[in-house]
Structure formats: C-alpha cells, structure tokens
C-alpha cells in the first residue's frame, strides 16, 4: 500500500481551489460566489497545514489562524454588503449589479 505523501494533499488542495475558481467564474448568485471564495481559502489552508506537517514547522498552522480570522472578517463585511445591496436592488444577481460600470 502506498504511503500518503504531501503531494496528494497538495493535489487535493489544487482540485478544491480550482472548483472554487469555477464557482466564482460560473455562478451569478453573489452568496454562492462568496462561498466559493471561502472554499479557495480553505484549499490554501489545507496546503499550509500539509507543508507544516511535511517540514515539521508550526508556522504553517499559525498562518492558518490568520487566514481563518481574515476570512471571518471578510464574510461579515461581504454579507453585510450583500444585504445592503439586496435592500436597494431586490436582487443579488451580479449581472444586475452594474451601477458602477463606467
């Protein structure tokens, strides 16, 4: 039975990151786009922890804490923005939110 190496974790991280990218590119619902961004951040976290395990260094895990904190702050602000936009436009379809287009 093959031993699980760091490459497998990185490959999984890459696949999850790409699924997140596809979500951002394909979906039109602003909330789903936010969730896809969360998934990309998670993929990066997985790579951090895998490297931390591989190198025997705790710094990777400490960085994951900062990523999680920034993600939480980002979600709070982003969802508040979405609620405000929904109040004025009655929609969160990003195709209809183009007021700032030049």
């Amino acid at each position: 039975m093959p031993e699980v190496t760091i490459d497998w974790y990185i490959a999984l991280s890459v696949i999850l990151f790409t699924i997140g990218t596809l979500g951002v590119l394909l979906r039109r619902n602003a909330i789903i786009i936010f969730m896809s961004v969360e998934m990309m951040l998670n993929a990066a976290n997985l790579a951090f922890v895998a490297f931390s395990r591989h190198l025997g260094d705790l710094d990777g895990q400490v960085l994951v804490f900062f990523v999680i904190t920034v993600a939480a702050a980002e979600v709070a602000v982003g969802l508040a923005l979405i609620v405000t936009i929904f109040r004025t436009k009655q929609s969160i379809n990003i195709d209809e939110i183009n007021l700032m287009k030049g």
Binding site: V14, N29, L58, Q61, V83
Partner: protein, 172 residues
C-alpha cells in the same frame, strides 16, 4: 502521513461536496455541501497532526461562518434566485478553459517540485505549543488582526444601519 484509504475516502467526499456546492440550484443546498466540505477538511487536518486547527475549522468555519451564510440566505429568501451562468454560453466555456489552464499550471508546478521522502518528524502541535509560537513570533500580526476585526465590526454596523429620514429605496 496517514492511511491512504482514509485519505482517499475523505478526498472523494471533499471533492464531491465541492462539486455539489458548485452545481446546486438551491443556495441552501450549496451551503450545506460546503459545510460537508469543511468537515472533511477538518478531519484531514487531524490526519495531518493538526488536531487543534481541525477543531477550530469546525467551530469557526462549519459553525460560525456557515451559520452566518445560511442566516443571510434565508433572510433574503435568496435560495432560488439564480442558477448557473445566464444567457452567455461562451462565459461557461471560457470559465472551463481557464479552470483547465489553472489546473495544468498547478500540475506542472507540482511535477517540478521535489518533495523528498516524507520526514517522520512529529512536532508538538498542541494548543499550548501553537499559542507559544503565536505569541513568540507573531505578536504584531496578532495585534493587526485585532484591529482588522474591529474595523470589520464597525464596517458591518455602519452598513447594516437603517438610514434615518430617507426611504429605503433611495439611500445614496
């Protein structure tokens, strides 16, 4: 780094949940798929000798953040609003192309990397050790994070405030 069977089962669930989130028509289903994805990643953290990060992942991500998401989805009644990309079919193909290009680039980088045989170095990753490392080497970033959280909190309060003396439809 752990049992291959466990890894493959977890990876399959994580990828399936990600695809489910991507393709679900209903936003609530997407959110629940994402919770499943976060939970499997938390177990992967545990297999990577990072149990505390795994628990934080479950409480903060799967708990707090996803509850916030579900709350907003249900508050707005936005669960049925929009599906996958609208009229422009070419956007879909372009997105697929870009995703394929991204994965090719990652694969090239991964193939070039020379990860040597797995170092069997078990480090001490208890909450105590993590806290020591955080406060020994990362005090300033820690403070900055506090300021960031305060800023976002004020921002959310300002954004969520009802404008007085104006009707809801025409606030600047």
């Amino acid at each position: 780094m752990g049992n291959p069977i466990v890894f493959f089962i977890l990876a399959a669930i994580a990828i399936a949940a990600g695809l489910g989130m991507l393709t679900s028509r209903n936003a609530v289903h997407s959110a629940l798929f994402l919770v499943l994805n976060f939970a499997t990643i938390a177990v992967l953290y545990i297999t990577l000798n990072a149990p505390f990060i795994g628990m934080v992942q479950i409480t903060v991500y799967a708990g707090a953040i996803m509850v916030l998401f579900l709350f907003v989805i249900m508050l707005l009644g936005a669960d049925q609003l929009t599906g996958v990309a609208g009229k422009d079919k070419w956007q879909r193909y372009l997105a697929g192309l870009l995703a394929a290009a991204l994965i090719v680039v990652f694969a090239i980088v991964l193939a070039q990397g020379n990860a040597d045989a797995d170092a069997v170095k078990m480090i001490d990753s208890t909450p105590g050790a993590l806290g020591l490392r955080l406060f020994e080497g990362y005090v300033f970033p820690f403070e900055v994070t506090g300021v960031l959280l305060l800023t976002s909190m004020i921002g959310v309060v300002v954004l969520g405030r009802k404008k007085r003396g104006k009707d809801a439809g025409s606030n600047n």
